[in-house]
């Protein structure tokens, strides 16, 4: 997954710059810390389900069992005897899928809208800017609530798509501003004189010059999508026929797990979400410092 890939793989940069970025990347404690924690959680999400001995929704264990080494109930069981470990790793996987898909869709829309508005200017910019402002002002979470409430079957993909469709405006606006500042540079004029098409100029000349920015934008949208999905799931609009981290928290609250002190049921899902999103944020600060020499610790 790109979230853990080396951030220095920016094309169109001379070899020296790549090597310099890599040098600072490996020396940056925030970046190394954030990337390794995210990577560890990702590995857990990929391989964890292979170790689960029970289905995430299967009943049959002892009721409200505290974490134990026996029978594969490493994280204990729910009030109804479901395996918390199996639910946890399933939810973790879903969180990464929603994050990648929702964040990816939002990034793609933000790039199309931001680049087009910034490069074309004029009436196209006016229209796209209006669209961005409208979606920015609408409380998208409330919108998602209404849409999800009317869906009879809710899937993880629909959830991710709708999150992606509603969370792009701030990124589009930032990209538009960045594009504006690049459009009047000499190298863009030169590309235009040499007869390249607009899309070629945008993706071969402009985009590579903000590749670090694009990558950081994707990370933020990725983390945001995970949190939005967890909130939707907690409110009772999670995907049908599976279990997510947000749904685990919802079910534990609904079944009075707090009053019964079944901490193994409601602590892991929130802790995992916090760890993933927090390490993504820390990684982002590290990346910012690597690409922006002014911010490096002195």
């Amino acid at each position: 997954m790109s979230a853990v890939a080396a951030p220095a793989a920016a094309p169109a940069k001379p070899v020296g710059a790549v090597r310099e970025s890599l040098y600072f990347a490996l020396r940056n404690r925030k970046l190394v810390f954030g990337a390794s924690v995210t990577g560890a959680m990702l590995l857990f999400a990929i391989f964890g389900p292979l170790f689960a001995r029970h289905g995430p929704l299967a009943y049959g264990g002892d009721l409200s069992l505290a974490p134990t080494r026996h029978g594969g109930y490493w994280f204990g069981t729910t009030l109804q005897g479901q395996d918390v470990f199996a639910q946890f790793v399933t939810g973790l996987r879903l969180a990464f899928i929603v994050g990648a898909l929702g964040g990816g869709i939002a990034s793609a829309i933000a790039m199309v809208v931001g680049f087009t508005a910034g490069y074309r200017g004029g009436i196209v910019d006016e229209v796209l800017n209006m669209l961005t402002n409208v979606v920015l002002v609408i409380p998208t979470f409330a919108l998602l609530l209404v849409i999800a409430a009317y869906l009879s079957v809710r899937g993880i993909l629909t959830e991710a798509v709708f999150i992606g469709l509603t969370s792009w405006p701030w990124a589009a606006r930032a990209l538009r501003a960045q594009t504006f500042s690049l459009v009047s540079r000499d190298f863009v004029d030169l590309a235009r004189l040499s007869g390249r098409s607009s899309w070629q100029i945008i993706f071969k000349e402009i985009a590579p010059n903000m590749s670090s920015y694009l990558f950081m934008m994707f990370i933020l949208l990725f983390g945001g999508a995970i949190l939005i999905a967890a909130t939707l799931d907690f409110i009772g609009l999670g995907p049908s026929n599976t279990i997510s981290l947000g749904m685990m928290m919802q079910l534990s609250v609904q079944n009075a797990a707090l009053q019964l002190h079944l901490w193994w049921w409601f602590l892991p899902p929130g802790l995992a979400l916090m760890t993933i999103v927090g390490s993504l944020y820390v990684m982002n600060v590290g990346l910012d410092e690597v690409f922006n020499p002014k911010l490096r610790e002195m």
Binding site: V134, S152, H261
Partner: protein
Amino acid sequence: MGRYFLRKLGIYSLTFFVAVTVDWAIPHLMPGNPVLTLMNRLQIQDPRVAQHVYHHYMRAFNLDLPLWKQYWYFWVSLVHGDLGTSILQFPSPVTSIILHAAPYTLGLLIPAILLSWYFGNKVGALAARRKVLDNSALPLSYALTATPYMWLAILLSWTLAVTWHVFPVGFAYDPTAIRGLSWAFVGSLAYHWFLPFMSLFLVTFGGWAIGMRNMIIYELESDYAHYLEALGAPQRLVRKYAFRNALLPQITGLALVLGAVLAGSLVTEIVFSYPGLGYQIYRAITNEDYFVIQGIFLFIIVGVLIANFVVDIVYVIVDPRTRIGMEGGRS
């Protein structure tokens, strides 16, 4: 300046129009007859009740009319403040349910947003470029801002309320208290308000502190800050100017985070059984009470638009540049 506000008002009217249209269109866009789908899901046993609910829905959606007329009537009833009737709490109109729940949500949201903004900015500004404070405040802020709202609420409720009994587990006030303007009742309200408020405040606080810290560092690296330093201005003065400049994007940020904090307050209310809009939405979703969901959506839209407009006005008051030649390019 007039043009700036006109432009803003234009965007807000358009947003309102789009939101209302979407709110109307969603039940119509779903495949099949939405009323039949609803009836299937309600699974009412008594045929007489089923008949009644069916007719209620048919009349409420105006499904026997042509589409444009349905849309028109939706606006007409909206203008009259009629958002339909709740199924779960029949026969209360949705409007009265919202008006009863909204004060609780606003009472959580407004203090949480304003106080976290104030303290977050203060702490963030203090922490910037100060090793010891930065190394403690920054990781904490990142942890807080990455925490899902409902999880912090669960954590606070489990530790402070369930385990140590310092605060009540839920509800807006002690059920045995007599409602009225007595000290006992107000005290009970505040006592029950504190934990949900605190969990909203803490998560939001983290975001502001990080934002301010980063902005101050950018400002301290700018030319005017270096120039001031070169002139021999005391560090305190330089930081004061940096703070003032860094505050502007934070004001714009107020409008941007509104949606996220609102979502946070909805789920926090669920954890604490706090009878605001979030709790009503949760009940409506688990009981398929669609008019309540759609009505609360419209209410939230209007609230957010008003809040955005207030932020615009504050921005113009705070930033003198907007008063001179503001073209509306910045928002």
